[in-house]
């Protein structure tokens, strides 16, 4: 158990280090851009030097780069005040900054957008896992048969179709042209407002996103199963006369589970940073739209905040997966 604890603490230490490196790099990259962050804070045609300088001071852009970064990091843990005295704007921890363009703490913007992206990511994750793993198993079991061919066809169309085309065609041909589906042509309904409306508004985005991912998973699961079935212990099990079904369920799938879970975990984490195309096509106000619009408006605090947030989720998910495997498989710890 000691070894495990040591491993976990080492893994967490490493995670923190990568997080620090990523956040620093993001901060640096956007500090190096040829934009004056302060002059971007006051509306679209702002050119009053007074307000620019005031905002520069409030956002701390007048401080040396390293100090700005340090203040940002401290703000993540302790919250942050922008400006002084009564005019100060306060963002509670974890503070990712303040957007003057949107008049809001970046953290609040992220927490507004996150439920939408979570809805999208969880739903499509379930969908693509069911379809992808299912088809993968079918394709592997019936190799060379018609089922394999059909699932291969599905996989290839799925991987060949850009998401924006899938989404657009679903909306235009299914929702609008056929006019028989109960799904809206876009937009998000909060589940606490109208759970049925939420479900209906999410179905097409789920399908769109899951289509692309399910294809990748079908392919992956199929090759995993085929590879594992050539391992000696599976052959032994077969030699012992165990039925194919039992071998698949008890041995093959168990061995294939770890890589599939890893892949799903990382894909899921990646999605929480925003599925830009799907969110754009279906008009979902999630993380992807938040960050994309921030880029369009050059809303630097939001760009920096969402990028670091998205990277953090990926890094943390990586660490979680590693630690979970360390529990399951002691060899990982060495």
């Amino acid at each position: 158990m000691n070894g495990l604890l040591a491993y976990i603490s080492r893994r967490l230490g490493l995670t923190l280090l990568i997080l620090l490196a990523v956040s620093f790099t993001v901060y640096l990259i956007f500090a190096l851009l040829p934009y004056d962050p302060a002059s971007l804070t006051c509306g679209k045609s702002c050119n009053d030097p007074g307000i620019i300088e005031a905002n520069r001071h409030r956002l701390g852009y007048d401080k040396p780069f390293f100090e700005q970064y340090w203040i940002f990091i401290v703000g993540l843990f302790a919250g942050r005040d922008f400006g002084e005295g009564a005019a100060a704007l306060h963002c509670a921890a974890p503070s990712f900054g303040y957007s003057f363009q949107q008049h809001a703490c970046v953290t609040d913007l992220i927490f507004d957008a996150l439920p939408v992206t979570l809805s999208l990511a969880i739903g499509s994750l379930i969908l693509w896992l069911i379809v992808g793993v299912g088809l993968g198993i079918v394709a592997a079991r019936f190799r060379g048969k018609i089922w394999d061919t059909l699932s291969t066809a599905f996989v290839l169309v799925g991987t060949s179709l850009p998401t924006f085309l899938t989404g657009l065609m679903l909306i235009v041909f299914l929702v609008i042209k056929l006019d028989w589906s109960p799904f809206p042509a876009g937009g998000y309904t909060a589940p606490d407002e109208d759970i049925v409306g939420w479900f209906l508004s999410m179905v097409l985005p789920w399908v769109t996103l899951a289509f692309a991912y399910a294809a990748i998973y079908t392919r992956f699961v199929r090759s995993q199963i085929i590879e594992i079935s050539t391992e000696d212990y599976i052959r032994t099990a077969r030699a012992k006369g165990l039925s194919d079904g039992i071998i698949l369920g008890k041995h093959t799938m168990r061995a294939a589970l770890a890589p599939i879970v890893t892949m799903a975990g990382l894909d899921f984490a990646g999605l929480l940073g925003g599925a830009i195309l799907t969110e754009a096509v279906f008009n979902l106000p999630g993380m992807g739209r938040l960050s994309l619009n921030a880029v369009v408006d050059i809303d630097l605090p939001v760009i920096v905040g969402t990028t670091i947030f998205a990277a953090a989720i990926v890094v943390i998910m990586n660490a979680i997966l590693d630690i979970v495997y360390a529990f399951i498989d002691p060899r990982v710890r060495v």
Partner: protein, 317 residues
């Protein structure tokens, strides 16, 4: 004494020949190879095709449009003069535009793949072979790169980076935009390949034939080139055949979002982005470029799968 060795059948085929045999026996392999080669040939020989068919990607045939910029009839003006019809609104020949666009798209995809493979191989081999501190640094660096939300970073960095490139005075306009896409695709692409190569190299490194070469007094360089490298070509070839269509559709996606090459130069992506506006009232124009992209990606994906099956005997058991 009687031994099994006496029974050993004499075949006499190199692994390459065996792979080619397996490849040929795959039903879709040859057709997809043929289509892929034809496409590549068409892209390379585009100027020849223009003159053969009498089409020109820069010429606009406004006679093919009505006075509101639309193509009369249901078939987007497909005729002997315009084999795939015309681009509505502006009157370009669609086939010529698509060939020209495919040239640019392929340039981006091929160059990105080449740089990705170069970096991925180099980093993967160096990390996997020398291990230790070098491997640690490369490994942490890939972790670090993979943590970034790639898609978003490509969008966020495009405008300022291209601006910088143009200000440097070395490269302008679409050349700068193409270079940006190539570089940024490669930067975020190599860590994936490098990981595959590294794990491959680590397992090869532990194989006795490497030890044997060392026992023979072979230098590290010789071992890398003669013993290690030939054994990582399989994942590399598979990666290339899959990343090429990946980058082709990535180009389309970023063009759809307005990042990338600007008119009058077309790419497959910009043509598709334009054609989505005609989804309803000129579906022929909408479907042709999209289908072309899907077919292209499909072909290379099939080819990649066939190569994988052929090169990796295990998957064929």
């Amino acid at each position: 004494m009687f031994s099994k060795e006496a029974e050993q059948k004499v075949t006499g085929h190199s692994p390459r020949e065996l792979a080619w045999r397996r490849f040929k026996s795959n039903k879709v392999a040859i057709p997809s190879l043929v289509v892929a080669l034809l496409v590549i040939l068409a892209v390379i020989l585009a100027p020849l095709i223009y003159s053969l068919l009498g089409i020109d990607p820069a010429a606009r045939d406004e006679g093919a449009l009505d006075n509101r910029g639309e193509v009369p009839g249901d078939w987007n003006g497909i005729s002997a003069k315009h084999p795939l019809g015309v681009v509505p609104g502006i009157g370009y020949d669609l086939l010529a535009r698509m060939l020209f666009g495919a040239r640019v798209s392929f340039l981006i995809a091929l160059a990105s793949t080449a740089i990705t493979v170069f970096l991925g191989l180099l980093m993967g081999i160096v990390g996997g072979y020398f291990r230790g501190r070098v491997d640690g640094v490369i490994g942490r660096f890939t972790d670090f790169l993979l943590a970034f939300p790639t898609f978003f970073m490509i969008i966020a960095l495009s405008a300022p980076t291209i601006e910088r490139m143009e200000k440097s005075g070395l490269i302008q306009g679409n050349e700068a935009r193409i270079l940006y896409l190539i570089i940024i695709f490669a930067i975020f692409g190599w860590p994936y390949l490098s990981r595959i190569i590294r794990s491959q190299v680590i397992s090869i490194r532990e194989r006795d034939f490497v030890l044997s070469a060392r026992a023979l007094g072979a230098s590290n360089f010789r071992i890398l080139v003669k013993e290690v490298l030939p054994n990582v070509w399989t994942p590399v070839i598979i990666y290339v055949s899959l990343s090429l269509p990946g980058y082709l559709s990535a180009e389309a996606v970023f063009s759809y979002l307005g990042i990338g090459v600007q008119p009058p130069m077309p790419t497959l992506g910009t043509i598709i982005a334009d054609s989505t506006k005609y989804m309803m009232n000129n579906s022929v124009y909408f479907f042709i470029p999209s289908l072309a992209l899907i077919l292209l990606v499909l072909t290379f994906n099939l080819l990649g799968d066939a190569l994988r099956d052929a090169l990796d005997p295990k998957s064929e058991n």
